[in-house]
């Protein structure tokens, strides 16, 4: 069973309290008209589907309702890292990434 500590409300949430939001960092092509059909196909359908550490989105649905990013091993379900999107955006504004 998956248990993740929500980085916003700091409660341990198990999989019944969480909502899965799929692979993280799947970014819509911009500008849409300029993107090739292959780029659109990749964006819409193709996924890394990693066996190992996978970056994905979860929502603290039964708690504070915040979405966050998680690095989870897809065989052991071990959570390696939990990232608040707010922190990531703040970091990007400072020109970090």
């Amino acid at each position: 069973m998956i248990v993740i500590k929500c980085p916003s409300c700091h409660e341990d949430r198990h999989e019944e309290e969480l909502e899965y939001g799929g692979e993280a960092d799947v970014v819509r092509p911009t500008p849409p008209d300029g993107a090739s059909d292959e780029t659109w196909t990749d964006y819409l359908f193709m996924r890394t589907n990693t066996k190992g550490v996978h970056y994905e989105q979860w929502c603290c649905r039964a708690g504070c309702g915040q979405w966050f990013k998680v690095a989870r091993h897809t065989v052991s379900h071990e959570v390696a890292e939990v990232i608040r999107y707010e922190d990531r955006f703040a970091y990007q504004k400072e020109g970090g990434e």
């Binding site: 899965y20 996924r47 890394t48 589907n49 066996k51 996978h54 897809t74 065989v75 379900h77």
Partner: protein, 415 residues
């Protein structure tokens, strides 16, 4: 030895010590005319049809574990062909027709039991949808009918129809040709039949990578050495992305856990396969007497081949909701398989971006029923290099051309 009534009597009278080993334990050779990756039902069927239909007598199946130890050994053994779109119905009904004749074809009792596969109807919307589907099936030439609540109660006396159930039963959609098959027998039967036609079944042989030259695969590197072949096929279900990554192309697949469980053996009490869209569970009784129960997919990406307690709770409470008499029953085992979910719930069959590698994946939660067709089609692609007419709509290129075959609405249960 051919299995027959006379061989059964002869061996029965001599203490059953005369049965030969059903298939050889093969050692990998350096080179084959074709290599099939994956020793589940689809891979075994592929090798069998390559040998039988296309005359290949130098074929290897390479399997990282043991044959039939993946989803072929982890499903709920249901078969049916009540798919809505004409292209899906044609493919799945072809599969069911192959199953109907498979026992004779491979001289192995697969224990096909066409006991009737029914989806309960709980409200007027579901009744409309079921009528819509039954009309489609009539147009597709596949059997399927609507029965009323009285008939449902007659067929399943233990089902809670009159006791004010949480999900009232208004009737059911019934496919009489649907039912169950002994799942291991499908793996073992295809293995034995393929072996007799010269196929090498190589277990404990994991793919580690591919040697590519000029956009084609020259050889596969495995945990038991390097194997060359002019053509390769992959039928590895939930691990399709792992193989595709090594071969160098992307797939629109996410791997997820699908769980099932069985009760202790009971006397015969449920003669049909029943699925409830309300409670989200499907149940049938095996010939040994165990009740096999399955529920919805785990709704997150996973390669963990094991069950979880929330799903046990959901499935068991749903089963008791439908059949209150099951309340005292004990569970014996539960397990999970990794299924390959595709955005349009339809299989991916035929060519890949790698010229001499062909694919069979994407059956998602319904791969067992499709084993004969999946194997037949992959064998056809590998032998001829072309897509069989029945799989023209199911190529990997449909995602690029945006011609999806969206069977989500016709699945037995809303996964």
């Amino acid at each position: 030895m051919r299995y027959s009534l006379s061989s059964l009597i002869r061996n029965g009278l001599t203490g059953n010590r005369g049965w030969p080993q059903a298939w050889r334990k093969a050692e990998p050779k350096d080179r084959y005319d074709a290599v099939v990756i994956g020793g589940g039902g689809h891979g075994l069927a592929t090798a069998y049809y390559l040998a039988k239909e296309h005359g290949f007598n130098n074929v290897a199946i390479i399997e990282k574990g043991w044959i039939g130890g993946g989803n072929t050994g982890r499903n709920t053994t249901n078969v049916r062909s009540d798919y809505m779109f004409p292209e899906s119905a044609a493919l799945y009904d072809f599969s069911l027709r192959l199953y109907e004749d498979l026992g004779r074809d491979i001289n192995f009792n697969i224990m096909l039991s066409q006991r009737g596969w029914m989806t309960l109807i709980h409200d007027h919307h579901q009744l409309d949808a079921a009528r819509h589907k039954a009309n489609w099936l009539t147009c597709n030439g596949v059997d399927g009918e609507i029965i009323d609540a009285r008939e449902v109660a007659r067929m399943m006396p233990l089902l809670n129809v009159d006791g004010n159930p949480r999900y009232p039963v208004m009737g059911a959609f019934l496919q009489k040709r649907g039912g169950t098959i002994r799942h291991d027998a499908v793996a073992w039967g295809y293995a034995r039949a393929a072996d007799r036609l010269g196929v090498d079944i190589i277990e404990n042989c994991e793919v580690l990578g591919f040697e590519k030259t000029g956009g084609r695969i020259a050889a596969v590197d495995t945990s038991r050495g390097r194997i060359e072949a002019p053509v390769f096929g992959m039928a590895v279900a939930g691990h399709s992305t792992v193989i595709a990554d090594m071969a160098g192309f992307k797939l629109p697949v996410t791997s997820r856990c699908l769980q099932a469980m069985v009760s202790e053996p009971l006397k015969p009490l449920l003669d049909h396969v029943v699925i409830s869209p309300g409670t989200g569970v499907y149940i049938n009784q095996t010939q040994k007497g165990e009740l096999v129960m399955g529920g919805v997919l785990d709704l997150y990406h996973s390669y963990g081949q094991r069950g979880t307690y929330p799903t046990i709770e959901k499935v068991v409470t749903a089963a008791v909701e439908m059949f209150p008499a099951f309340a005292g029953m004990r569970l014996m085992r539960h397990w999970a398989g990794i299924v390959d979910i595709v955005p349009d719930s339809s299989p991916i069959l035929g060519a890949t971006p790698v010229g001499n590698l062909f694919i069979n994946c994407g059956w998602g939660t319904g791969g067992f029923k499709a084993i004969p067709a999946g194997g037949y089609m992959l064998a056809h692609s590998m032998a001829t290099g072309k897509a069989h007419p029945l799989i023209k709509e199911f190529g990997l290129d449909r995602f690029r051309s945006n011609r999806l075959v969206d069977e989500g609405a016709a699945a037995g249960i809303a996964h």
